[in-house]
Amino acid sequence: MAKSNAKDPLSGGRRDFMKKLGLGVGAVGFGAAAYASGFKNLDKLMESPIAERNLPFWVKEVDEPTVEIDWENMEIFHGPENTLFNPASWENPNDYKEIYDRNIASTKKNVQDNVPGLSLKDRALADANCWGWGGRSGADLAPPWTGSDVKANAQWEHPTMFYTPEDYGVPKHEATPEENSKMLRTAGRIMGAADMGFVKLDERTKKLLWGKITFEDVEKGYAEPEKNKYVLPNKDLWAVCSLVPQSLWMQQYSERMSWASSNTMSYSRANIYGNRLSVFLRGLGYQAYGGDTESVGRLVGFGVMAGLGEYGRAGILVSPKYGTDIRTVMVTITDLPLAVTKPIDAGITKFCETCKKCGEMCPSGAISMEDKPFWGGGAAYQAKGIRGWYMDAKKCYTYMLGGEPDCSRCQTVCPFTKFDDAVIHDLIKLSIGSAPALNSAIRNMDDIFGYGKEPDLNETPWDLDPMDIPLYGLDKSRS
């Protein structure tokens, strides 16, 4: 049968095979399409509709823990001194001193011997990441962002509880500028920077520092906040510019609580990161100035010069990867020699000329709608010397803080502000960077595809399954 049928494509065996194959494939496709049409999120198929604690299918809840407990004879600990790693609970607390001394000696020896994983830079990174952990940080976290009780440049003076090369009896870290840049990028990613760029301070870029910062022939910079005096040493200095993104996922529920949460959490992370970076640089034996979000200079300016993004219509930095959904550029001044990064051209500023989506969507009308960038400025917050677009900050703030819902529409609607799941976004950005003639069409398609629409406020983060929420609110696809 098989032999004879093989010559006839319409005979039983193969016809049956094709029929079954076609039916199978069709059924699977139909099922997927039917399912998908009824759900906003494909993952919902596998989820309980009830927003309870969703455990993996192999985990079951039980009435008693799997470790046996005798509650009748359970001893109550007096406090943390009873806990496992507290020497006060040991039979002979002096044992701890011996162990501690041994640890100090071995740590020093490992650093002196440059043991991989236990070298000076490894210790510096460990110390840096300790920042914020009670007792190890030399300064408390800045107060919550309230707009009233944050002292300007409060973090110019840095945490001091860390070890320096002198403590280990080794010279400061020495490497080529390229190696230092690579090392900082690695440490930066671990500590909380999405991207980093490096700017050499010269006669041009010093103009991006705050005017109150001066240079003196001193070995180390110093600050006298009561006199509003901040001094940097006259030597080769570099600005380490670190990009701190915010949660696009939370921004999507913008104009309400989520915007404020995403915003404030990102500033908090930025300050924690900035202090960690300072500790890291000092742990390597170098100087670091600027530890909070606005202690050094103009963030967008440094971001542009460092190649973290381009200057956009809304007067804010537009990153090729994160769009305008970035909270700040953390700028830290150091004397660690670094290989500078150049400004970039991804066609972003050119795209802003035709796009104007942020300006159209801005509910306060604060964003300039001029076609071309222009030499402007004039208000105290609008620096002259930039051919760009200028935001009317008063209009923006009047809307944001004047009893209306908080707003970050200009950031959320920017066509560059996208998740990274769909490959098509990279192709669109490739087109923007190489074929600006298509910019107008791309802007129209961005609207047609529904990007940057007004948020559906009937669904807020509170309505979601908690396990749907990215850890720390950070976006799963934009790390």
Partner: protein, 103 residues
Amino acid sequence: MKLISWNWFWYVLVGFLMGGGAVMIWHILKNFKLKPVWFEWILLILCFITFMFMSQTFIASFQEYEPQAAWLSLVFMGIPILLMAVVVFRSLNKRYLKNKGIV
């Protein structure tokens, strides 16, 4: 249940659909003794690439909470796929009928 990511499921499904489609086309060509010419091969390959791209955009747009973009990607990429498939089918069918002496 987000402790397991189910993204893989949709990509496996696309893999099965594409694999099934490729097997089906291979069977049809073999059984009808058809040999595509160069432009038919190009269009078939383009069909597969576009289908793969469309599927990725469709699935990923849902992951991005952009359902409108997901469905429109089916329209904007699905129509070219259908057009290319129709061109290949008509071309193959015309040659098949000609070989059979029907036209």
